[in-house]
């Protein structure tokens, strides 16, 4: 209403047009699934409506809820410590704690089993002390542990962005009225974080729904595993499509919960000025426990996997390795992730903007659609695009363009979630003021919206970059012929038990991902 008060505004047309275009792209997988499901044989219905499926659905929801809560418990303290307090080396912790997102879940699960498994490395160290076997990691504990440690950065990233843009006035008022730092956190900061937490939690929950690697290594049956068995064992695409539609229904349920969590309040400050410097909280004697907490999480989720990789690498240091193909994969990874994060960001701006500023039915629908494919396992999205690409868009089939579309469909929600949180924190009155001063909408967007919501934009770019770096099924299936990335090299080696050959690309994957994350985080602290 403010932004588009002139009906003829070309910017409005462009926004709605891009929004509609993005939405129609995102509907491709659903269209494909409906088509395939309509051809499904009778046997799938007996699978779908069985006691066993119902139980697996419940187990899936249980795991998703537990991992989301666990991730929030890990992520919110780290976000708060690295943004609001005088924690030593907080920028370093901020960088290191986002990196676990880049570890593929099957690699993470394998590494955790080799260390914490019943007869893993830890048990061997404890053997002299008489420990014959560690408690069972398999089942819920292992799946919960791995998924939490690899996906808490979703919540961390969105929460940090929200914290950074949060208007400090309320907190100052709370402190002035006599609340201590904890009271202020619980009564003021946490409620204000709701949209950021909800956006991140949504990403975690949907990630758990679609994960296959961690749950299959940890022997925890989720719905995605049942879906994979349809492909893997029965070569049954139609049955798999029916199951995938159930995943989309689950997604809608999660979205419904997220809307409830998100609330309807305004999250921008009442005044028009820019956000002032928030109070930095002195940790005092909480300093050491806080440091210990951050270090513990980094050790478990990053140092532990990385050291085993390094051990594998040095154990087989003399194996023949083709360095040129390693560099080629590294370049491909950076190239694909870089392009994808740019593209996804561009596509997410209209979706996030419309959903924050235009409260109409279409805007809401658009944002919901953008999440629809996120709980789908990559294989489903990839096959949908294979079907449309090979049969209706042959010129771009097996080119980088279709690959980027695949990433767009998969990862748009990550950018939308991060951006939306930031846009919510901008008061429309600032933009209104700029408009009345004669700036055109595009200039307002460039000079006010982008700089003010930079933390959200950076979070969105970071999340998409990291997840594209590790993405496997879409890259394998939609990539141009012979296109290999670091993630595909790791997979190819692990698949054949060539762990030495897997270590180099896996370590490079973590190392290269840290560079853009570092530059994003260092830049935000300059702002």
């Amino acid at each position: 209403m403010i932004f588009f008060f002139r009906n003829t505004s070309p910017v409005k047309v462009v926004l709605w047009f891009t929004g509609a275009l993005v939405a129609s792209l995102l509907l491709l997988p659903i269209g494909y699934l409906l088509l395939r499901a309509s051809e499904a044989g009778d046997s799938i219905w007996s699978i779908l409506f069985s006691y066993r499926t119902a139980r697996i659905l419940l187990k899936t929801v249980y795991l998703a809820v537990a991992v989301t809560l666990g991730s929030a418990l890990v992520a919110v303290p780290i976000a708060w410590l690295t943004v609001r307090t005088d924690l030593p080396m907080r920028r370093l912790w901020a960088i290191l704690t986002t990196l676990p997102l880049v570890v593929p879940s099957y690699v993470g699960a394998y590494l955790f089993i080799s260390v914490l498994g019943p007869r893993g490395i830890l048990q061997q160290w404890l053997e002299p002390l008489g420990v014959k076997e560690l408690p069972k990691l398999y089942g819920f504990p292992g799946a919960f542990l791995v998924l939490t440690l690899l996906s808490y950065p979703y919540i961390l990233t969105t929460t940090r962005a929200a914290l950074m843009r949060m208007n400090p006035v309320l907190e100052e008022a709370s402190r002035n009225l006599g609340d201590g730092p904890w009271g202020t956190f619980w009564r003021i900061t946490l409620p204000q974080l709701r949209p950021g937490l909800a956006a991140g939690g949504l990403l975690v929950a949907l990630y758990v729904l679609r994960d296959f690697g961690a749950v299959s290594f940890m022997r925890y049956s989720t719905f995605t595993r049942v879906l994979y068995i349809q492909y893997q064992s029965s070569f049954d695409r139609t049955g798999a499509a029916v199951l995938a539609l159930v995943l989309i229904l689950l997604t809608l349920l999660v979205l419904f919960i997220e809307i409830r969590t998100r609330g309807r309040a305004n999250y921008y400050g009442g005044h028009v000025g820019a956000v002032g410097n928030p109070i930095q909280i002195k940790l005092g004697h909480w300093r050491w426990p806080s440091l210990f907490f951050c270090a513990g999480i980094v050790v478990l989720s990053l140092v532990l996997p990385a050291s085993i990789l390094a051990y594998w690498l040095f154990r087989e240091i003399n194996i023949t390795m083709s360095y040129s193909s390693l560099w080629m994969s590294a370049w491909n990874s950076l190239f694909a992730s870089g392009l994808a994060s740019g593209l996804v960001l561009l596509a997410s701006i209209p979706v996030a903007w419309l959903s924050v500023r235009k409260k109409g039915r279409f805007a809401i629908l658009l944002e919901r659609i953008s999440y629809s494919a996120f709980a789908l396992p990559g294989i489903v999205v990839a096959l949908a695009l294979v079907f449309f690409g090979a049969n209706y868009a042959n010129p771009i089939y097996q080119t980088v363009y279709l690959l980027l579309f695949g990433y767009l469909i998969m990862f748009l929600p990550q950018a939308v979630g991060a951006l939306r949180t930031s846009f919510l924190q901008i008061s429309p009155s600032i933009e209104q003021a700029a408009r009345t001063l004669g700036k055109n909408p595009l200039m307002v967007f460039r000079t006010i919206t982008v700089p003010v919501s930079w933390s959200g934009i950076a979070a969105g770019i970071g999340l998409v970059f990291l997840t594209v770096m590790k993405e496997l099924p879409i890259t394998l299936i939609l990539g141009p012929l012979g296109f290999s990335t670091l993630a595909t090299s790791v997979w190819s080696a692990v698949e054949e038990a060539m762990f030495g050959a897997a270590a180099a690309p896996a370590l490079l994957l973590i190392l290269l991902s840290s560079v853009p994350m570092a530059s994003i985080i260092l830049r935000e602290s300059l702002n």
Binding site: R119, A390, L476, L481, A501
Partner: protein, 369 residues
């Protein structure tokens, strides 16, 4: 001597930067016209590879969809490309996923050849009518047990189902039973591992059903589950678990062990055991290849399939990937038991088509959870 590596990563992407890098690599290394490639195979002798395929004026290109992993097969594909001059582009993925991709692509598939890890994937593509019939002289290279009945795919290399055991806790002579049935005994409680979602395992169960019948197979599955079998997502973690002592025995394919030994040394605490009593427990499975009917490069596809069945390629599988060659007269790796000495089992792989029946049975007994 000069080794040429074809990065098909490069040739396909049409990105200027890539081609610059690649041409740089070529100029810096050696002339691409050189086709002599020497491959060392650690069997007993070094095999000198001569040109297998005549280089003609315009060799053209070939698109391979591979369900076998890049680490395993890219070197032999590079040899083919170097020797033939054909530009080979490969798409790698899991066999089931590649089969699904082919089915989605239908007649618009760019693929010329599908090289799959197991007969199940080949069967799914064959059933959709996407394979061309292979000429009789190609099929004649390989035992009819290891090819499709209709002659539209042919096995390339073999792997045996074996028992992997922990060397510290198991004396294979004394402790291990002579056939699969022995593992339902209560003495194995808490000591077993399997990978019920794995394609080779399911093929073995299909073989059990066709030899033992449904009831006995079901009884076996339930007996193993009653022994609290550990469920693994695939073969490799089972081999690792057997070596770590997490399980004493696992049902796996034979070759993963040799890769672990190559990586971790002879001290690796697991070894393979071939069930002396025979039966489906020592089934030999194959990776195989078929030609996509709609592929644009029929001649090159046939050259490639012939190459995979040539002594050079067969020797590569024997020496480098620890597999069983399927063509007569090729030496196997010195650590392997010759296929002829394996317990005889009279099962045609093409008979093992009823995968759905196996999945249904595994689901019924609750093995897939």
């Amino acid at each position: 001597m000069c080794k040429i590596r074809f990065h098909n990563t490069v040739s396909s992407t049409k990105m200027i930067l890539y081609s610059l890098i690649v041409s740089g690599l070529f100029v810096a290394s050696c002339q691409p016209e050189v086709v002599e490639v020497v491959k060392e195979v650690p069997v007993e002798k070094v095999v000198e590879v001569e040109k297998v395929v005549e280089v003609d004026s315009a060799p053209g290109s070939l698109v391979v969809y591979s369900g076998r992993s890049e680490k395993l097969v890219q070197p032999i594909i590079d040899q083919f490309a170097a020797a033939s001059g054909i530009e080979v582009e490969v798409k790698y993925g899991k066999t089931a996923e590649m089969a699904a991709v082919l089915l989605e692509e239908g007649n618009n598939s760019p693929a010329d050849v599908f090289w799959a890890q197991d007969p199940g994937g080949l069967g799914a593509v064959a059933e959709a009518g996407m394979f061309a019939d292979l000429p009789a002289d190609v099929l004649a290279n390989v035992d009819s047990k290891f090819q499709s009945k209709n002659g539209n795919w042919v096995g390339v290399s073999g792997r045996a189902r074996v028992i992997v055991y922990n060397t510290a806790t198991i004396d294979p002579e004394k402790d291990l039973p002579s056939d699969l049935w022995g593992f339902v005994e209560p003495e194995w409680k808490g000591r077993l591992g399997w990978a019920p979602t794995n394609g080779s395992f399911q093929a073995m169960v299909t073989a059990l059903r066709s030899t033992w019948g449904e009831d006995k197979t079901k009884e076996w599955l339930q007996g193993i589950m009653a022994n609290d079998v550990g469920v693994y997502p695939k073969n490799t973690p089972q081999v690792a678990a057997a070596a770590a002592g997490e399980i004493d025995v696992g049902f796996v394919n034979h070759y993963y062990l040799h890769r672990f030994i190559a990586a971790e040394g002879e001290n690796f605490k697991a070894r393979n055991y071939f069930l002396t009593g025979g039966g489906p427990g020592s089934l030999v499975m194959v990776a195989g290849v078929g030609r996509i009917d709609t592929g644009a490069n029929e001649d090159n596809a046939m050259k490639f399939i012939n190459f995979l069945l040539s002594p050079v390629a067969q020797q590569y599988f024997a020496g480098q990937t620890y597999e069983y060659p399927l063509v007569e007269g090729v030496k196997i790796h010195r650590e392997l038991t010759p296929i002829a000495e394996l317990p005889k089992i009279d099962i045609d792989l093409s008979d093992l088509v009823d995968l759905q029946g196996t999945v249904d049975l595994l689901t019924e007994v609750g093995a897939l959870e």
